[in-house]
């Protein structure tokens, strides 16, 4: 991305210094404080639970997506994988397969889809945009064929119940975020694999010359991203109680946006696990807040767009002034 240093805008910084020093977390907290003042319903335990639930799925997608973006790739298929996974897990459960086996099969299927992407990139030389766009299109078709355009009703009460319950006061869906984010953090920030991922995104030739297997890292990144999407698919199936191939439409853009808001660079080699998490919850908070304030649905879109610009602008300024 062609960014220019901006000597002019520096002047405006004077009185707003405190805003510019805010980290992304700070902006999220600011948003929450503003909403708590604006509406009494925001800071209730119940609403916070809802908020955690609402942001959890995009958050997990965004973490997976971040691995891919760090390698300077992109995964457009995640929304389609979510929809497809709801169909797979629903049809498995409805055909009598034990729930845990159904879940494992679904996750493995996600992993395989990711490996297929990596195969297309590594072996067939396809741009990531193209191979994942193709899967996006095809997977929706396969899912629709499997369900004949309808929804599969999941009658297993325990499976559905899971998404509604809480553990230690925290909704189970948010526990899933923690279960994904902690190993993801260890992987990306504390293990050598994470470092290799950055190296591949930064300079694949340098990585290769250092003995890093670039294809392997591509397989890992796309495999993880697709598996995260399959996890979200299972979560969504549990939450909605149905399998439906058209669900998760457009979530790929939300996941990528969360990741970029969280500081990931689409040119690769820059990104973290916590950034996308915060990005996803910023988006969820905006939409939760707008709903609570009963903002007109059309205004809600306009405001969301404007807030995205403002938040990323402040975050960019902070990064640049570091």
């Amino acid at each position: 991305m062609t960014t220019e240093t901006v000597p002019t805008s520096v002047k405006t910084r004077r009185n707003w210094n405190f805003l510019f020093a805010l980290t992304l977390v700070g902006l999220l907290v600011l948003l929450c404080v503003a909403l708590s003042i604006a509406t009494p319903n925001f800071a209730t335990g119940n609403n916070i639970s809802n908020l955690l639930r609402q942001g959890s799925m995009i958050a997990i997608l965004a973490i997976g997506q971040t691995f891919v973006i760090i390698t300077a790739g992109i995964d457009l298929s995640v929304g389609a994988i979510v929809g497809f996974s709801t169909v797979v897990v629903a049809s498995l459960i409805q055909s009598g397969v034990p729930v845990w086996i159904a879940i494992i099969v679904t996750l493995l299927m996600g992993l395989l889809i990711g490996f297929f992407h990596a195969f297309g990139i590594v072996k067939m030389g396809l741009p990531p945009f193209i191979i994942t766009l193709a899967t996006l299109t095809s997977l929706r078709g396969i899912g629709l064929l499997m369900t004949n355009g309808s929804t599969i009703n999941i009658t297993d009460a325990g499976f559905n119940q899971f998404s509604r319950e809480s553990f230690l006061g925290v909704p189970n869906l948010f526990w899933m975020v923690i279960i994904v984010a902690v190993p993801a953090f260890v992987f990306l920030h504390l293990s050598k694999w994470g470092r290799y991922l950055y190296a591949v995104g930064s300079n694949p030739e340098a990585a290769r010359l250092s003995g890093v297997s670039v294809p392997r890292m591509i397989y890992i990144a796309y495999g993880l991203s697709a598996m995260c999407a399959a996890i979200v698919g299972v979560m969504l199936a549990a939450r909605l109680g149905v399998g439906n191939a058209t669900q998760g439409d457009g979530w790929e853009l939300q996941a990528i946006a969360s990741s970029v808001i969280g500081g990931t660079s689409l040119f690769g080699a820059v990104g973290s696990v916590h950034g996308p998490l915060i990005g996803a919850f910023i988006l969820a908070t905006i939409s939760n807040g707008a709903n609570l304030l009963n903002v007109n649905s059309f205004w809600q879109r306009i405001i969301t767009g404007a807030l995205i610009i403002i938040i990323v602008f402040f975050d960019q300024l902070r990064r640049r002034s570091r």
Binding site: P7, V186, L190, S191, K192, R195, Y196, Y198, A199, G201, S202, N203, E205, A206, A207, R208, L209, S210, G211, V212, A269, V270
Partner: protein, 518 residues
């Protein structure tokens, strides 16, 4: 150190000469190349070449730009695959198909273009692929400490925790050097390692190379600087047009012979200097300050070469970029033909008649994935427009003229700049400004990686520009170059001008002392 060929051929005592190369028994050949060959499509980068390297020797390789030196190195390190021939390592035939295989044999290289990850820290780059882990977790602090120690031991004062991208090219090259000399190296190749280094850093590098040699490591050393070859090497091989044309023991040769082997003719003189009378004052800076430099006043007249010398990071490049409108000045003023001017962007500088061939060809000088022709013409497209479209005949003519004049070795102006050898890329960086009709040329390290023959051509070209009424600012960390060419020499240290002398009134020693600050 010798400043020109005549000095050198008289030959200083060679410190590396004690190891009598000829006396080594044949089984001490560590690596042998038989009929090695590499084709890129129709380009034959390396023709059947046979070469052998002895254990523990320093083996120099010289040759013109595009002779195939880097190609040879890439073949040995598994970067690219050969299209023919065999490689014998320690008596065993080996494949060397992947970088991993080369690394496992203990073959490492410092490539001509820095191949490291800009977004990772220095320490992370040094340990990339060989991380220190405990229970699967990276030992960041330990690695950072170890990296710092390695850098300090080598005498490179670099911060291990800095992001690589924030370092200058020369510093990055040092990181690559540190990296390559670790991990049980048995065979290490340096591809023009001193291109971006000043004498001080080069001396540290030479010390490192001698230490490695003492440890029994075989060293291949590629350079366009003859005096380095004679200072370091035990033997020297010459490549010409992708063919191995000969190997000599260093005692049995001199640089006249090497140059003749390289370019197939003799060269009387590299540094071409003509007495050209100074004309009008073109460019002046008065107490110019900005990021990286402070209070600098210089004057450039028609027919004058103003040399700027200093160590890495002395602030010369920043100063040049500021004149060119790339970086804002913080105080002081710039005068163009005695008139104060406000150069707030590059376009203004170019329109006044200033040209800048920047320091880093990869980051600033070239659009690597675009054709050579486009690169050469980029600054002059304004002049090429005929109505709404480009005069494509003129576009071709100008590109071809530069390719011919600078002897850029390429199959076509349509080839991508990235497929050129390092030296040929450097010629594009210079060539793109020669069509422009500027009056002040700023050349920042113009001959980095350029072979002796072409260097001589470039210096002759300088003379031509000067005779046409231009002035030149020549920034170079290669002392012989500025010493021989500059009419006025300014020495920079830590962003300040610490000394200015005119031609003939100075000595190497004074200049060095000023630059280092002792």
């Amino acid at each position: 150190m010798g400043a020109n060929l005549t000095d050198l051929s008289s030959g200083p005592p060679h410190p590396a000469g004690q190891t009598s190369a000829a006396a080594l028994p044949p089984h001490d050949i560590i690596l042998e190349l038989r009929d090695l060959e590499k084709r890129y499509g129709h380009v034959q980068a390396l023709k059947k070449s046979t070469l052998s390297f002895r254990r523990g020797e320093i083996h120099a390789i010289v040759g013109e730009n595009g002779a195939g030196k880097s190609t040879l190195i890439k073949l040995l390190t598994g970067v690219i695959r050969r299209t023919g021939g065999t490689i014998i390592w320690n008596g065993q035939e080996v494949d060397l198909a992947t970088p991993n295989e080369a690394i496992n044999h203990g073959i490492n290289a410092v490539h001509q273009e820095v191949v490291l990850c800009r977004q990772l820290s220095v320490a992370a780059n040094i340990f990339l692929g060989d991380e220190n882990t405990k229970w699967g977790l990276l030992q960041r602090r330990e690695m950072s400490r170890a990296a710092q120690k390695i850098l300090d031991d080598m005498g490179f004062s670099l911060p291990a925790d800095a992001l690589l991208g924030t370092l200058t090219i020369g510093q990055q090259q040092l990181v690559a050097t540190a990296r390559a000399s670790l991990r049980g190296t048995k065979f290490i190749i340096f591809d023009e390692p001193t291109a971006y280094l000043t004498r001080q850093e080069a001396a540290q590098l030479f010390a490192l190379i001698r230490r490695l040699k003492a440890e029994g490591v075989t060293i291949v050393y590629i350079s366009h600087r003859m005096e380095e070859v004679f200072e370091l090497a035990d033997r020297v091989s010459v490549l010409r047009d992708g063919t191995h044309v000969g190997t000599r023991n260093i005692e049995d040769t001199n640089d006249a012979e090497l140059v003749a082997l390289m370019i197939n003719r003799t060269l009387e003189q590299i540094y071409h200097k003509e007495e050209i009378p100074f004309g009008k004052t073109l460019l002046q800076t008065r107490n110019l300050s900005g990021k990286g430099f402070n209070d600098v006043s210089i004057t450039v007249r028609q027919g004058e070469i103003v040399g700027l010398y200093g160590l890495i990071g002395a602030g010369r490049s920043e100063f040049a970029l500021s004149i060119f409108g790339r970086n804002p000045k913080t105080s002081g003023e710039i005068l163009w033909k005695e008139q104060p001017v406000d150069i707030s962007n590059e376009r203004k500088a170019i329109d006044l008649g200033i040209a800048l061939a920047p320091e880093s060809r990869r980051d600033q000088g070239l659009n690597l994935n675009l054709p050579i022709g486009l690169n050469i013409n980029l600054p002059v497209y304004d002049q090429l427009m005929r109505g709404p479209v480009i005069d494509s005949g003129e576009e071709k003519r100008r590109a071809d003229a530069q390719i011919r004049d600078l002897q850029i070795k390429t199959p076509s102006r349509r080839s991508l700049a990235s497929s050129m050898s390092g030296g040929n890329q450097q010629k594009i960086v210079i060539g793109k400004w020669l069509n422009h009709g500027a009056e002040v040329f700023i050349f920042d390290e113009p001959t980095v990686g350029v072979d002796v023959g072409t260097k001589a051509e470039i210096y002759r070209l300088f003379a031509r520009l000067l005779k046409n009424g231009a002035g030149i600012i020549l920034i170079s960390s290669y002392l012989p170059e500025v010493y021989e060419l500059a009419d006025t020499l300014h020495v920079f240290r830590e962003g300040h001008l610490v000394g200015s002398q005119s031609y003939r009134e100075r000595s190497h020693e004074d200049i060095l002392a000023e630059a280092i600050g002792v």
